[in-house]
Symmetry: none
C-alpha cells in the first residue's frame, strides 16, 4: 500500500465531487434456513441500478477475521491503515460527546463505581446510575484542582464520563485503574513509558481527590479510569488530497472521527432524508462528503433483521436525490458488518459499491454481498478504497514516468 506521503505527492486538485455514503454496519448474514442477507432482502432498485453501471467489491475494514470498532472502521474508510493509526478509547469517548480536544490534552474514559469502607470495589458500574446523576457528580469532579493544569470532566451516559487533563508534558502510556473484578481495590495508575511519569502522577492525584469528594455519595463513591490517550496527530485527509471535506452525521462520535481527519461538521436532522437535505444545502461548498447513517448498525445490534432491511430501503429511496446532485464519484458501503443474526459488530467483509463514469461496469444485477464477490474492485482492505475513489475523481497523477 502507498504511504499517505506517497499519495499526497500524487494528489492534485480537480473540480470533482465525491460522496461517501456510509451505512454503518451494512454487511449482514442470512438467517438460519434463509438465503438472503439484510442487503439482499432489501428492495433497492436505485442502488441496484448503480451496481449495474459501477463496480462492486468486498472490503475488510482492518484485516480478514478482525472485527473493528467504530474508530478503526471509519479510519479505514478514510484511507488510514487502522493498524498504523490508532485512536485511544479516551479520545474516542471525548470525540463521541463532541468535546473539543487540544494537543495538550490527555483524555481518559471514566466509570463511576462503588467501593466499601476498605476501598474494595463492590460494583464496577455503581449500579449504572442515571445519566442525570452522572452529570451532577462530574460537576463535583471538575472542582478538583491540580496545580498547573486544567481538569475537564463531562458525563457520557449512565456511569460513564470523560476526563481531560489539559496541561504541558502529559504523555500517554498509562495503565488503567479498573481491577476488572469486585472485592479488589482500584489499581494505581502506572507509567508504562518514562515520558508518561508526570501524567501518572496527575492521574493518581485526580483519583485520590475523586475518592475524597465522592466519599459521601452513594452508590457512586469512587471512579475507575482507563483508555488514557492523547489527541492523535493524523495527517489530515483534507491536506493529503487537497479536498474541502464535510461530514453529515447524526451522532457526535462519527462527526468527531471525521473532524480528526480534517472534515467540517454540517448540521443535519435525524432522518436519512434530512441528511440528504443537509448535503444539498452545502453541496457547493465542499468537494468530499461523508454521509453517515447510523440506524443500520443499531438495528443489527438489536438483532432486528426487518428493521435493518427497512433502513437500507430508506437509504435507497434517497439515492435519486443524491444522484441528482451529479456527484462524480459515489461510494456506498459500511464501516464494518453488523449482521442482525449476530447482533454485534463482526469481521465479515463489507459490501462496496463505487459508481463513477470511469468505472469498467460490472453489470451486476443487484447491490448484494453475493454480487460483491464478483465485482471489479475485488476483495480489498478498506484503506485501499480511498486511492480508488481519488483515481475515479481524477485527482491522482500518474505514479512514475
Amino acid at each position: 500500500m502507498l504511504s499517505l506521503e506517497d499519495l499526497k505527492a500524487l494528489a492534485h486538485p480537480a473540480d470533482t465531487k465525491i460522496v461517501l455514503f456510509v451505512l454503518d454496519g451494512l454487511g449482514g448474514l442470512t438467517r438460519k434456513g434463509e438465503s438472503q442477507t439484510e442487503l439482499e432482502a432489501a428492495r433497492t432498485p436505485n442502488l441496484d441500478r448503480l451496481a449495474g453501471e459501477g463496480n462492486l467489491g468486498l472490503a475488510d475494514p482492518v484485516a480478514p477475521g478482525i472485527t473493528p470498532g467504530s474508530g478503526p472502521g471509519h479510519l479505514g474508510l478514510f484511507g488510514y491503515d487502522p493498524l498504523q493509526y490508532r485512536i485511544g478509547r479516551g479520545v474516542l469517548e471525548a470525540v463521541g460527546i463532541d468535546l473539543e480536544m487540544t494537543e495538550r490534552d490527555l483524555a481518559a474514559r471514566g466509570n463511576f463505581c462503588s467501593v466499601d469502607a476498605h476501598g474494595l470495589s463492590t460494583d464496577r458500574r455503581a449500579g449504572r446510575i442515571p445519566t442525570e446523576v452522572c452529570a451532577q457528580l462530574t460537576l463535583l469532579l471538575e472542582k478538583i484542582g491540580i496545580p498547573g493544569l486544567e481538569v475537564i470532566v463531562r458525563p457520557v451516559r449512565e456511569h460513564r464520563f470523560v476526563v481531560l487533563f489539559r496541561g504541558d508534558g502529559l504523555e500517554e502510556g498509562l495503565s488503567e485503574t479498573d481491577p476488572q473484578e469486585t472485592g479488589k481495590p482500584p489499581l494505581p495508575v502506572r507509567a508504562e513509558v518514562f515520558a508518561a511519569k508526570k501524567a501518572a502522577g496527575v492521574a493518581n492525584q485526580f483519583v485520590s481527590e475523586a475518592r475524597r469528594v465522592l466519599s459521601s455519595e452513594h452508590p457512586a463513591n469512587m471512579v475507575l479510569l482507563r483508555g488514557f490517550s492523547k489527541y492523535p496527530s493524523l495527517p489530515k485527509l483534507t491536506e493529503i488530497y487537497g479536498l474541502r471535506a464535510a461530514v453529515i452525521a447524526v451522532y457526535p462520535m462519527y462527526r468527531g472521527l471525521a473532524k480528526l481527519v480534517g472534515m467540517q461538521a454540517v448540521k443535519t436532522g435525524d432522518t436519512v432524508a434530512e441528511e440528504i437535505t443537509a448535503l444539498e444545502s452545502v453541496y457547493g461548498r465542499f468537494d468530499f462528503f461523508f454521509v453517515h447513517v447510523k440506524k443500520t448498525d443499531s438495528a443489527g445490534e438489536d438483532g432486528n433483521f426487518e428493521k435493518k432491511v427497512a433502513v437500507i430501503e430508506e437509504a435507497d429511496a434517497q439515492i435519486p436525490r443524491l444522484m441528482s446532485l451529479k456527484p462524480d464519484v459515489l461510494v456506498v458501503t459500511g464501516d464494518h458488518s453488523t449482521p442482525a443474526p449476530f447482533k454485534a459488530h463482526s469481521w465479515h467483509p463489507v459490501p462496496v459499491l463505487l459508481w463513477s463514469k470511469w468505472c469498467r461496469p460490472d453489470a451486476a444485477a443487484k447491490f448484494s454481498e453475493r454480487e460483491c464477490r464478483f465485482g471489479g474492485i475485488g476483495h480489498i482492505r478498506a484503506a485501499e478504497l480511498m486511492p480508488l475513489i481519488m483515481a475515479h475523481a481524477e485527482r491522482l497523477a500518474k505514479f512514475g514516468a
Copy 2:
C-alpha cells in the same frame, strides 16, 4: 509478498521456456452506451482458446487506484514492487534513447528553453525547436568540460535531451532547475541530501556553462534540468531466477527497461508478426522472452477504440505461430490499462492470461476483462505474477520443509 532474495533462494534451473507477451495498455473501458471493452470487442479466437485451457486474473500494476507510468508498469510485470524499486526520470529518458549507462552515471532530463537578457525564462520549451536543431545544440553542450568527469549529452525529441554526468561520487537527491513558469529565472540546483553536494556543484557548473555556450543561439539559449537520477542497481531478473532472458521490443524505452533487469535485446522489425519472427530466430538461445507490443497503448492514448481492437486482433493472429514454438508458459497481459475512452494511462486493473499445462483450467469462454474477474489467478498485484509464472515453469522449489 516474498522478497526477491526469498525468491532467489527458491529458484532452480529447468529446461522450460517462458513467453511474456505484453500488449501495452491492454486494459480498457466500454464506450458510453456500449457494453464491451476493446478486448471484449476484439475477435480473438486464439486467445479465447488459451483462456479456456489456462487461468485468468486481474492485476493492479502498483496498487488499487494508482495509475502507473511505463517504468513502474513494467517493473511490476518483471516481479519488482514498483513502490520499493523506483526509476528516476533522467534514467528513463536515457534508457528511452538506448543510451548505455554505467553505475558511475548521474542522468538528468534536459529541456532547451528561452531566457531574456535578464536571464528570466520566456519559453520553458524554446518554442519546441525541431529535433535536428536539438541535436546540433547538444553537440555544443557536450563540449562543456568539467574537470574530473565526462559529460555526455544526447538529443531526445524537439526541445528534450538527456545529460549524463559520468564520474565518481555523483549521488542523486537534487532539486530541479525548472521554475515551472515564465518570467522567472531557472532555479539553482540544490542538494537535498548531504551526499549529493558534489553532484549539485557539477550540475550548477554545467548549467552556467550551458548559458555561456548557448548565449548566441535563438530561441534555445538556456537549459532546464530535472529528474536527476542514478542508474538503479536492481537485482537482475536473470540472476534471481537463473534465466537467460531476451527482450523483443520495437521502442527503445521498453528494451531499456528490460536491460535494467538483465535481459538482452533482440533485433526486430516493427510489426507484431516481425516480433514473432525475431522470437523464433532466438528461441533456442534464451529461456525467458519479453515480447512488447506498443500499438495497443498508442491507439488507447489516441482514443482510437477501433484501432486498439485491431491491434489486439493483430496480436491474436500471431498466437498460433507463438504456440507452435511450444512454450511451457505463456502470459498475455498489459503493463497498465490505457482505455481508449480515457485517452491516457489509467488505474484500472489489467487482464491477465496465464497458460501452461499445469493450469487448473478456468474454462473461460473468452479472454476479456469480464472473464478475468472470475479467473483462478484472482485479483493480484502485478509483481505477484512472476512467482506464479516461475512456478508454472517448474522453476521454484518448495518453500520450507
